[in-house]
């Protein structure tokens, strides 16, 4: 009978897709076990999340408006979410494991003295919440039970499928009880990445290159294939450390965790630290000239071949299909 609150994150005027994924999954739980799904949304200017939230499973959407919600602030978001939780007492609060969510969830949980679990890929209800999450670089999963009145749970983007089985959500507002004076660390500017760049952690498709591409000049080959797919481009640590591409592209244990629909690993051996960042991708393609490379153990499709021969042809074939 859990009431599940879902934090509906907005950045730069865009709602994060993980919010709809969380609502969809939460609704599955409440349909099976009772309880309600509540969307919680903080906004500065006018907002219109109700319809989408309802469609994806929210019974109610609680919104709070304040000029301060224009730009993310750890302290103010913590205050607002804590105010909501103290007033409405959900049993579970879901927060996307995004840059914002990873920043917010621990601070919020500590303020509420609540259980906190991050980067979950599965939720179940067995008299209480059980959260499934990868640990030890994805080499195994832990099923975690939580204690206390409320649990704050981070959800890995793309872990849950979207469902549009909901209907209209009831709209409500709440008072965020802001004390702006308590906010000491302030975001003074946001530098946006070059236009057209797709964010690695949010991309539906990721194409990554490793040492098999032989040199920095060949990363363009990865970017071309990525462009054909409409994908973000990633990298193994080997080529980041070699200075061939910027660290922001690194996928893996000491880089980004991605879970796209399709991950294409080109000239990447598949070291455990790389797998840690991508092994929960839905479909994995590996192109590697060594047929015994460990990457094939996690791949769904493989070509044992030379990236210099395969990638240009693949880029062309994908362009053809995309043209329709």
């Amino acid at each position: 009978m859990p009431n599940i609150a879902v934090f509906i994150e907005q950045r730069a005027g865009q709602i994060k897709k993980v919010a709809w994924q969380m609502l969809s999954e939460a609704r599955k739980l409440t349909d099976a076990h009772g309880g309600e799904v509540w969307g919680v949304h903080l906004h500065a200017a006018s907002c219109n999340v109700n319809e989408d939230a309802g469609k994806h499973g929210a019974h109610k959407v609680f919104t709070a408006e304040a000029a301060e919600f224009d730009r993310y602030d750890s302290e103010l978001w913590t205050q607002a979410m804590a105010a909501f939780i103290n007033e409405h007492k959900p049993d579970v609060v879901l927060v996307g494991s995004t840059a914002m969510g990873k920043d917010l969830a621990p601070r919020l949980a500590a303020r509420l003295k609540a259980a906190c679990v991050s980067d979950a890929v599965g939720l179940s209800w067995d008299g209480g919440l059980v959260v499934r999450r990868p640990v030890f670089a994805g080499k195994c999963y832990a099923d975690v039970a939580t204690r206390g009145d409320v649990a704050v749970v981070g959800i890995r983007p793309n872990a849950f499928a979207l469902a549009e089985t909901g209907g209209a959500a009831e709209a409500a507002t709440f008072s965020p009880g802001l004390d702006a004076g308590a906010a000491k660390a302030k975001v003074s500017a946001v530098e946006t990445a070059a236009a057209g760049q797709i964010s690695l952690t949010e991309a539906e498709v990721v194409v990554s290159g490793g040492r098999g591409i032989k040199g920095p000049e060949n990363y363009a080959m990865i970017e071309k294939l990525a462009e054909a797919f409409g994908a973000a481009s990633g990298a193994s640590r080997a080529i980041v450390d070699a200075g061939w591409v910027d660290y922001s592209h690194q996928v893996g244990q000491t880089g980004k965790t991605v879970a796209p629909n399709l991950y294409v690993a080109c000239g990447i051996s598949g070291a455990i630290q790389h797998l840690a960042g991508m092994s929960s991708s839905k479909c994995i393609v590996a192109i590697n000239k060594d047929a015994a490379a460990p990457i094939f153990k996690v791949a769904d499709y493989g070509i044992a071949g030379d990236v210099f021969e395969v990638l240009p042809a693949l880029t062309e074939a994908v362009q053809e299909i995309k043209k329709g």
Binding site: D119, S248, I303
Partner: protein, 260 residues
């Protein structure tokens, strides 16, 4: 400037975990233990700050059995420039969750007035990314999470953190908690003479009672560890030449897997 760096000992990611089914506990006997790689960025950043200011003191703090963490504290922390260490060794903390550890660290950190408290962004064993930020909350300090760039000013700092599609620039007064990731610096290796000298630096060992706190209860509990969901067999695409293989792959992704 007084800086604290909180570090954790974790199993090397090469450590093998072979599960054929769910188990209540993992066999950790074969694990090789190392300093959490992210914490090395925090240590390095602290040392860089002290070098730049030409003044200051760096205290490294860890929770763990003293006998197990001794070498890590000496080699990876004191030998690369930290000045002293505090080890909270309490058998009752075995299996403690992030919030319990954060409470213990906060108690240890409250004993001194630190201007900066540095953490790694996450530990590579439980990957939780929680302890640093929770500790900030418990200390009543602001935090900047996942910094990739840091500039100190008098009584304040500016840090940059990567977000989806950009970078946030955050200004904060000190004291402040920072969580450090790759890209911030290149951790140095300890030299042999410095490892020898590190043996002389003070290491204080105490338990929760010594900190004046009760052993905090964990609010989360691992019920079982399970193998990752099996992935299907890999379909190897064979064709007469690489171009044909590429076309077949594109077709399969389009028609069979329906991804493109």
């Amino acid at each position: 400037m007084k800086i604290a760096v909180c570090v954790k000992q974790v199993p090397d990611s090469e450590s093998r975990i072979n599960l054929s089914g769910p188990v209540p506990e993992l066999d950790t006997s074969s694990f090789t233990m190392i300093i959490n790689p992210y914490d090395q960025y925090a240590v390095e950043e602290a040392v860089k700050i002290k070098e730049k200011l030409g003044d200051g003191e760096i205290t490294v703090v860890t929770v763990g059995a003293e006998a197990r963490v001794r070498e890590m504290i000496k080699k990876d922390c004191l030998a690369v420039g930290c000045d002293k260490a505090v080890v909270v060794d309490d058998a009752a903390l075995a299996g403690a969750d992030s919030f319990a550890v954060a409470q213990v660290l906060a108690a240890a950190l409250k004993r001194e007035q630190f201007d900066l408290v540095l953490f790694g962004i996450k530990a590579i064993d439980d990957d939780a990314s929680q302890v640093g930020i929770m500790t900030a909350e418990l200390l009543g300090m602001p935090h900047v999470g996942y910094i990739g760039d840091l500039e100190l000013k008098d009584g304040a700092l500016t840090a940059k953190r990567e977000i989806e599609g950009g970078v946030e620039v955050v200004d904060s007064p000190t004291p402040c908690v920072l969580t450090c990731g790759k890209g911030l610096n290149e951790p140095r290796l300890p030299s042999l003479p410095n490892i020898m000298k590190a043996g002389m630096k003070p290491v204080e060992v105490l338990d929760c009672a010594g900190l004046g706190v009760e052993v905090p209860a964990s609010l989360t509990e691992v019920k079982q560890f399970a193998p990752p969901p099996p992935r299907g067999e890999c379909t190897m695409i064979d064709a007469e030449d690489p171009a044909a293989a590429a076309r077949e792959l594109a077709r399969a992704l389009h028609e069979d897997a329906k991804i493109i």
